[in-house]
Symmetry: C2
Subunit: 279 residues, 2 copies
Amino acid sequence: MSPLTTIRTVAALREAVAGRRVALVPTMGALHEGHLSLVRRAREHADFVVASLFVNPAQFGPGEDFQAYPRDEARDADMLAAAGCDLLYAPAAGAMYPAGFSTKVSVEGLTEFMEGAVRPGHFQGVATVVAKLLIQCAPAFAVFGEKDFQQLAVIRRLALDLDLPVAILAGPIVREPDGLALSSRNVYLTSAQREIAPGLYETLRDAASQIARGEGIAEAEAQARRALLNLGFDAIDYVEARAASDLTRLGPAGPMNKPGRLLAAARLGRTRLLDNVPI
Amino acid sequence: MSPLTTIRTVAALREAVAGRRVALVPTMGALHEGHLSLVRRAREHADFVVASLFVNPAQFGPGEDFQAYPRDEARDADMLAAAGCDLLYAPAAGAMYPAGFSTKVSVEGLTEFMEGAVRPGHFQGVATVVAKLLIQCAPAFAVFGEKDFQQLAVIRRLALDLDLPVAILAGPIVREPDGLALSSRNVYLTSAQREIAPGLYETLRDAASQIARGEGIAEAEAQARRALLNLGFDAIDYVEARAASDLTRLGPAGPMNKPGRLLAAARLGRTRLLDNVPI
C-alpha cells in the first residue's frame, strides 16, 4: 500500500481538508486495535479520514509519563494506512504551543471528580488541545474511544458549549481475549502485572451486575475496591457508578432510572489502568 | 432604508454566512459612533458585515452594571443598517449559555493586570464569548475598538492560540469634540462629571509626551494619577505605560525601543472611564 501522507502544519492541514467532509481521529500515537477501530468508524461517516498524532504535554502532570510515553510514528502511519486513514496530521509541540501561548480551555463540573481529581490539570490540557484540533481541522465528525469515558463526556460538553460544528462519535472499548482493555500504557506492565490486569474488567462486570440487580451502589463499589486489592492491584483511584449521559452520581439502590456506567482506575505499580462497563 | 435583518440562533447565523467572506463586529449594543466606525472598517474588508449584539452576563462582575447596561435594539439596528451592516445577530442569553453550560476560555498573562486585576473574571467572560462568536460566525475578519486596548490584545492572543482562521482588526478610538472617548457608559455621567471627564484624555496625552521626551515612566504615571485626582476624578484604577504590541511593562526612562501605549482607568462616582493613547 502507498505510504500515508503526513503533514505537520495547520496551513497544510487546512489545505488538505478544504471542501471535504472530514472525520478526525485524535490520537497520541502508540496505536493499537482500539484506535484502528475508531478509524474504521470514522470511515463509515466521512469520505476523508484524518488521524492526528500529538503527544500533548499539557495533559501530562509533573511526574507522569510524558517522556516515557511510547512513540513510533512510522509504525503508527503504517497501521493507519492499513485501517483506511487518508492523512496523518502530526504537528510538532512548538507548532501547537508556540512561544507566548497563553490560552486555556476548561470544562467545569465534569472534570472535578475521578480522573480530574486524580490528575489535576489533565482535562484542561485535553480540552485545550482538542479545541485546537477541532478548530484546526474543522471536521464534520470526530471519533473518541469509550475507554476514556470521562474524557468523552468532557469533549462532548466542550464541543456543545463552544458551538463547534462537529458531531462527536464514540467507539466501544476493544479488549484483549482475556478482557483487558487495550491501552497504549499496557506495554508498561510486567508479566506478573499483566496477569493481574484482566481482573479489573471482571471485577467491574461483577459489580455492575450487582448494581443492576438492585443491590446497594455504595456497597458494590466498596466490594469492587476490596476485590481489586485482593487480586493484587496496588491502589484503587476510584470505582464509581455514574449516569452514562452526564456522569452525575447514581442515586441510592433501587430500580435504575437511567443508563449507568461503572468506571474505575486502578494501579499496578506505577501504571494506571482505566476501564468502564455499562450497568 | 430597509430594516436590518435580525437573527437569533446559531443555525440561522451559519445559514446566512455560508459561503460568504464575512467581517464580524461584536458589540454589546448601546451603539455610538465608535461602533459604527468599526462597521465601516469591516465593510472595507468584506462583502458581508455581521454585527452581533449580546450583553454578555459572563463578563460583568457582581455589583457591576449588567442590569443597568443601556439596551435599545431597535435603535441599534437602525444605526447599523445606516452604517452598512448586512445582518444583526442578537442571540438570547439562553441560546448562548444553555442549561449545563460549563466551558470557559481563559487567556493567562495578559489578563493579570489593569482591567484583569480590577475586574476578576471579566476577561474570562470576554474570551469565552468571543471564542463562541468567532466559532459560530467563522468570519474572515473581526473588528474591535482600541478603546478597550487590553481586550484587543487578549482577543488577538486568543485567536492566535486557538488557531481561529480570522484576522483581528482594530479601529481607533472615536472621541467627542472635547476629547472624551466615546463609550456606552458615558450616559451614566452627571453633567458635573461630564465636565471633568475629558481631563482623562488630556492628562494621558500630557503624560505620554513626558515619557516620549525621556522623562521617567514611573514619575509620569504618578504625576498623571495626581493630576486626575486634582481634576475631580474620584479614584484612579491604574495609569500604566506598556508596550503596544504585547502590553509588557515599559522599562525605566530612556529612549523608547518599541511603540508604547499609555492606558488608564479612572472613576467618576460609580462610572469607570477607560482611555489610552500612543506614546
